[in-house]
Symmetry: C2
Subunit: 238 residues, 2 copies
DNA sequence: CGACACTTTGACGCACTTCAAAGGGGGTGG
DNA sequence: CCACCCCCTTTGAAGTGCGTCAAAGTGTCG
């Protein structure tokens, strides 16, 4: 277990009230071993396991992209922050998912731990070297980048979707990714969801309440979601 | 020169009033040669030059992704259409740019000619074969996919941007891509721009008018844009 | 010159944001 | 173990930016 590091926010940003995050402690190195890694078995073999406390920064926008990360436990968000404090969450990464892809050798988004997180970390140079010798690795990397591309392209559709469509789509997506049947716990806060969907926290909350009133979902507590009518939800996503 | 093919819209879709497009004539095969292709000289050597008339479909969503395309002249848009007729333009592609990348072996967007278009078309299988033998080709392909990924990730920021920020950003982007100094002609219609930015055609038009009133730009005619104050525009993009 | 498609402009309405305050829920200290 | 506190979430009320509906203006091609 990890202790959440509640430290003062970085001084160089002027965030609006609700937006302060934890600072950026150097991640605790933990070269241990892990089990049951499906495809990227390679990662496990040549990568190191690291732990990041909740709200710590994993990498920053503009930093050199040295590593690829595979989430073992917890949840990571990537995001961009505009000069006036507006934040856009790029994506969430859950156990089994790989992130750190970027078009160039610099990160175009920052990454932060939404919860305490354990990950396998691997040097991109090492992976690229492997990829040059093994076309299977190269293809796997290419495929992962492709998946990333598809996901972002689908998210562009949010631009023409209503708040209800965005939230309904988000719930169905999370159900697929973390869902155990028709109920699951959201690892991220309402603010994270809002910044992911391009809405305000109030609109997300109100939309969830409306879905609950319509008996489409249940929200027994802030983090828990129960899907009562998946097909109705599916009809809502446009 | 090509004659725009004005044919009845495909029957299987029920588009709202403004949305009818041309049909899908088989592209006129034209295995000619072309000049001055910078990096992907390879494309020119093993690819065929093809011409597509304005508003023709180049490929459809869900079709197998057989080819990669390099624009020689004209403009292409990729897009998705929701069941209720809403349209999201994924991106525009201008001379020199390559498109047709997809995470899987199926296109996740359709592609249409915004204007009459000439392109070099190359089979992905051929390119993949080359990439297996030549790591430089493989790297180039990977880099292009990466650029695509970055572009889409940047576009996600539109979710938290105002109409003015979206339009200002669009103008600056187009100036970089097709601009000859501070003036350029937009190859696409207001509807295309609106669907690209997630706005309505009226909002795009009104925003351009407002920018013109503020002497930030000039719009001598519907397609022509003159940037009078680039730095003010840059301050508007958030 | 007239028809047509696209663009611009105006008036109005609504979905979402903003501002404000009340409600949990979990952790800490007494 | 309870009480308090803090943070997050929910709910309410009012404001507004953008969408919708409608009509006039503009350019193009026959």
């Amino acid at each position: 277990m990890l202790t959440p590091a509640a430290q003062p926010a970085i001084g160089s940003h002027a965030f609006p009230p609700l937006r302060m995050r934890g600072s950026v402690p150097p991640p605790a190195s933990r070269p241990t071993h892990d089990a049951h890694v499906p495809l990227a078995e390679t990662l496990r073999l040549i990568g190191a396991t690291m732990a990041y406390p909740r709200n710590s920064e994993i990498f920053g926008e503009g930093e050199p992209a040295e590593f690829l990360y595979r989430v073992i436990s917890g949840c990571v968000r990537t995001c961009k922050i505009l000069s006036d404090g507006r934040r856009q969450v790029g994506d969430f990464y859950l156990p089994g998912e790989v992130f750190g892809f970027t078009g160039t050798d610099e990160h175009t988004l920052s990454a932060e731990a939404v919860t305490d997180v354990k990950m396998v970390v691997i040097k991109r140079t090492a992976l690229n070297a492997l990829a040059d010798r093994d076309p299977a690795i190269a293809r796997a990397l290419f495929a992962l980048t492709g998946r990333e591309l598809r996901r972002v392209q689908d998210r562009i559709l949010l631009l023409i979707k209503s708040a209800q469509e965005r939230v309904a789509g988000f719930l169905l997506e999370m159900a697929d990714r973390v869902g155990d049947g028709n109920h699951f716990d959201l690892p991220m806060s309402r603010q994270d969801i809002a910044d992911y969907l391009g809405l305000t926290i109030e609109t997300v909350s109100r939309t969830l309440s409306a879905l609950e009133s319509a008996t489409t979902i249940e929200v027994p507590n802030a983090r828990r979601i129960v899907l009562r009518d998946r097909s109705r939800l599916r009809r809502l996503i446009g």
